[in-house]
C-alpha cells in the first residue's frame, strides 16, 4: 500500500520535493548574501548625519538594489503549506473518488482504514519532512526582510519559521484531503481546502494567538515615540493614551491639559511634556506579548494546527470507512 501511494502520487510528491529543495537552496544562498551585503554596506551601523538621515536611506536603497527580488522567496515560506494543501491534499482522495478508481483499491484484500490511513500517512510524512526543512529559515527571513536593525518585533517571523510552519503544512494537507473526500471532487477539495486553510490561519492569527497567554500591560511616557520602548521586540497588541482612570483619552482633552504646561514649567514643574502629563495621570498604555514568549507561542501554534490536522485525518478515515464507496 505504501508502494501504491508513492506510485500513484509520484508526480505531485516529486514536484513538492523539488520545490522544497529549490526554495531551501534559494533561501540559504540569498539569505546569506543579503546578510553579508548588509554588513558590508553597514546599513545597520549607519550613523545619520547631523541634519539628515539621507546617507542611511541611500545605504538601505543600495542594499535593496543588490539583493533584487530575493525577498519574494519569503512568499514561498508563507504560500508553501497552502499550496501543499491545495495541490496534494485536495486530489489525494478527491481525484480518485471522482474517477471511480478508488473501487479498484477498495475491492482488493485491504481494509478501508488501512487504505485511507496509509495514503494520508505516507503523503503526510513527506510533507512533514519538507516542512521541517523549510522551518529552518527564520534567519534568512530576518536577513531578507532587513530586520537586523532590531527596531521591529520578534514576532515578525512568527509564521515563516519554526514549528508553526510544520503545523500549517500538516493542517493544510489534511483539510484538503478531508474536503476532497467529502466532496468527491479534486477541484472542490483543492479550492475549499485552500479557503478553509486560509480562514483558519486568519482566525487563529487575529483571535486566538494574541491570547495564548494573558498579555502584559505596561505604561510609559505619553510622548514616547515607539510603543516598544517599554518592551523591546515585543508584539504590541494595542497602545493608547489613557487618563488616570485607564480610560482612553483623545487629543482634544490632552490639548486642554497642555494649556497648563507653561505655567507648570514656570512654577518649577518638569520640563518634559510627557513627565508633566504623567503627573496628571496621562500615560501611554501598551498591551503586548513580550519577545520571550515567542518560542512558547510557536509551539502552541504548532500544537493547535497539528491537532486540527489529526482531527481532519480522523474525520477523513471515518468518512471513508463508513460511507458507500
Amino acid at each position: 500500500m505504501i508502494w501504491l501511494t508513492l506510485r500513484q502520487h509520484r508526480a505531485p510528491l516529486i514536484a513538492m520535493l523539488i520545490t522544497t529543495a529549490a526554495l531551501a537552496i534559494g533561501l540559504a544562498v540569498m539569505g546569506a548574501y543579503a546578510a553579508a551585503q548588509r554588513a558590508a554596506l553597514g546599513v545597520d551601523t549607519c550613523v545619520p548625519l547631523p541634519n539628515t538621515n539621507a546617507n542611511c536611506v541611500d545605504l538601505s536603497v543600495e542594499w535593496q538594489r543588490r539583493i533584487g527580488p530575493a525577498p519574494f522567496l519569503l512568499a514561498g515560506l508563507v504560500l508553501g503549506p497552502a499550496l501543499a494543501a491545495s495541490f496534494i491534499g485536495g486530489p489525494l482522495f478527491g481525484a480518485e473518488i471522482e474517477l471511480g478508481v478508488h473501487r479498484l483499491a477498495l475491492t482488493q484484500a485491504i481494509s478501508r482504514v488501512r487504505w485511507s490511513l496509509t495514503k494520508i500517512g505516507v503523503v503526510l510524512a513527506i510533507v512533514f519532512a519538507c516542512a521541517i526543512v523549510l522551518a529552518q529559515f527564520g534567519w534568512a527571513a530576518i536577513a531578507l526582510n532587513g530586520l537586523g536593525g532590531g527596531i521591529r518585533s520578534a514576532f515578525d517571523t512568527f509564521e515563516m519559521e519554526g514549528p508553526p510552519v510544520v503545523g500549517y503544512a500538516l493542517f493544510g494537507l489534511t483539510v484538503g484531503a478531508l474536503l476532497g473526500a467529502l466532496s468527491r471532487r479534486a477541484l472542490t477539495g483543492m479550492f475549499l481546502g485552500l479557503l478553509v486553510f486560509a480562514a483558519a490561519r486568519v482566525l487563529v492569527a487575529t483571535d486566538l494567538r494574541p491570547s495564548y497567554e494573558p498579555p502584559l500591560v505596561a505604561y510609559q511616557n505619553a510622548m514616547s515615540s515607539s510603543p516598544t520602548d517599554v518592551a523591546p521586540k515585543a508584539w504590541v497588541l494595542s497602545s493608547a493614551t489613557v487618563d488616570a482612570a485607564d480610560r482612553p483619552i483623545d487629543y482634544r482633552a490632552i490639548d486642554q491639559l497642555m494649556r497648563g504646561f507653561g505655567p507648570s514649567v514656570n512654577a518649577g514643574g518638569p520640563r518634559d511634556m510627557g513627565e508633566y502629563l504623567a503627573i496628571l495621570g496621562v500615560r501611554q498604555r501598551v498591551v503586548y506579548q513580550p519577545a520571550e514568549r515567542y518560542a512558547k507561542f510557536q509551539w502552541i501554534e504548532f500544537g493547535l494546527f497539528t491537532g486540527l490536522a489529526a482531527g481532519c485525518t480522523l474525520l477523513t478515515v471515518g468518512l471513508i470507512r463508513r460511507r458507500d464507496a
Partner: protein, 290 residues
C-alpha cells in the same frame, strides 16, 4: 450445491430513491450467472453491496457465507470484482497494475497474472492510458482473476467494447470458468451475451428479483403462443400468462407452462431466452403503468 450469494429482503435506498427493494436471491456456485434488467433495476447496486463497496439499508446478504460489510477483507481476498467502466489507473503500466494486485492480495498468483497478459500480447511496460478498451478490459479482468477468486463479480464486463473484443472477452470468461475456475456473476444489458454464456439468469426489475432460474429450465418451461386476436383470454392455457401482446390481428402470449396448438390457428413454439427476458421486463412495465 454450495451457495455463493444469498440475499433476503435486501433493500438499499439512496436518499429517496430505492435501488433495491426486498431482494431475495440465492445463487449456487460453479456456473455463470447473468443479472439482467433495465437500467436502474439495481444490478450495479446488488454487485456493489456484494463486494462491500456499498452497505445495505436493510435486509441480509451473504457472499461465500460472509457478510460483505463486516468481513470485507477476508471476503475480498476470495472474490474478484471488476466495477462498471473497468476503473484502472491510467498512468500506471500494465506491470504496475498487476503489482497492485500482488501487493494488496495475500492469495495473488503472479505467475498466472503475468502469463495472462503475455497471452494477450500486452507488454508490461505499456501504460494503461495507451491501451484500447478491449485491452484495458483484459487487464482489469486479469487483476480480478490474479486473486484466484472463488467468485468473480463483473459489472457490465463487455459494455463499450467493439464486437470482436466483446466476443473475445466472453469466450475468455467461458474458458476461465471451464477450467475449474471461479463462479461468475455478471450483469449485462445485452441479452445475446447472456444467452451465449450464462447458465443461470436472474431478472431484476425495479429493485426486485422477478425470476431466477437456470437458462435451460427457463427455456424449457416457457412457450410463446400466437393466435388470432379474438382468441385472447378465451384460450385455456396450462400455466401462468406472463405477458400478452396484442397486434392488429394477432395475440401473442408468453406462458410459463405448456399449451397445446388448436385448430383456430394458434401456434405454440418454445420461447428464446431473449423473448422470455423481454416478456418479463415488459410485463413489469405494464404493472408499473397500471
Amino acid at each position: 450445491m454450495n451457495v455463493v450469494l444469498e440475499t433476503s429482503g435486501l433493500t438499499k435506498r439512496y436518499g429517496r430513491t430505492e435501488a433495491l427493494r426486498g431482494c431475495d436471491l440465492s445463487l449456487t456456485g460453479g456456473k455463470v450467472t447473468g443479472l439482467v434488467g433495465p437500467n436502474g433495476a439495481g444490478k450495479t447496486t446488488l454487485l456493489q453491496i456484494a463486494v462491500g463497496l456499498h452497505r445495505p439499508t436493510s435486509g441480509r446478504i451473504r457472499v461465500l457465507e460472509l457478510d460483505p460489510s463486516r468481513d470485507a477483507v477476508s471476503l475480498l481476498s476470495r472474490i474478484g470484482f471488476v466495477a462498471q467502466d473497468r476503473p484502472l489507473h491510467l498512468g500506471f503500466t500494465v506491470g504496475e497494475t498487476l503489482e497492485i494486485g500482488r501487493r494488496l492480495n495475500p492469495r495473488w498468483d503472479h505467475a498466472y497474472a503475468l502469463a495472462r497478459v503475455k497471452h494477450f500480447g500486452l507488454p508490461l511496460d505499456r501504460h494503461v492510458r495507451s491501451l484500447s478498451a478491449g485491452q484495458r478490459a483484459q487487464v482489469a479482468l486479469t487483476l480480478a482473476l490474479g486473486k484466484r477468486p472463488e467468485v468473480l463479480l463483473l459489472d457490465e464486463p463487455v459494455a463499450n467494447l467493439d464486437p470482436v473484443a466483446r466476443l473475445e472477452l466472453l469466450e475468455e470468461l467461458m474458458g476461465v470458468v471451464a477450467e475449474d475456475g471461479p463462479s461468475v456473476i455478471l450483469s449485462s444489458n445485452v441479452l445475446a451475451d447472456v444467452e451465449r454464456i450464462c447458465e443461470h439468469v436472474v431478472i431484476l426489475v425495479g429493485g426486485r428479483v422477478r425470476i431466477s432460474g437456470d437458462t435451460d429450465d427457463l427455456v424449457r418451461s416457457h412457450v410463446l403462443v400466437s393466435g388470432p386476436r379474438r382468441a385472447a383470454g378465451e384460450h385455456v392455457d396450462n400455466g401462468e400468462v406472463i405477458e400478452v401482446r396484442q397486434a392488429e390481428r394477432q395475440t401473442t402470449r408468453l406462458l410459463r407452462g405448456t399449451a397445446a396448438p388448436s385448430d383456430d390457428g394458434t401456434v405454440v413454439r418454445p420461447a428464446t431466452l431473449e423473448e422470455i427476458v423481454v416478456g418479463y421486463l415488459r410485463s413489469e412495465q405494464e404493472e408499473v403503468r397500471s
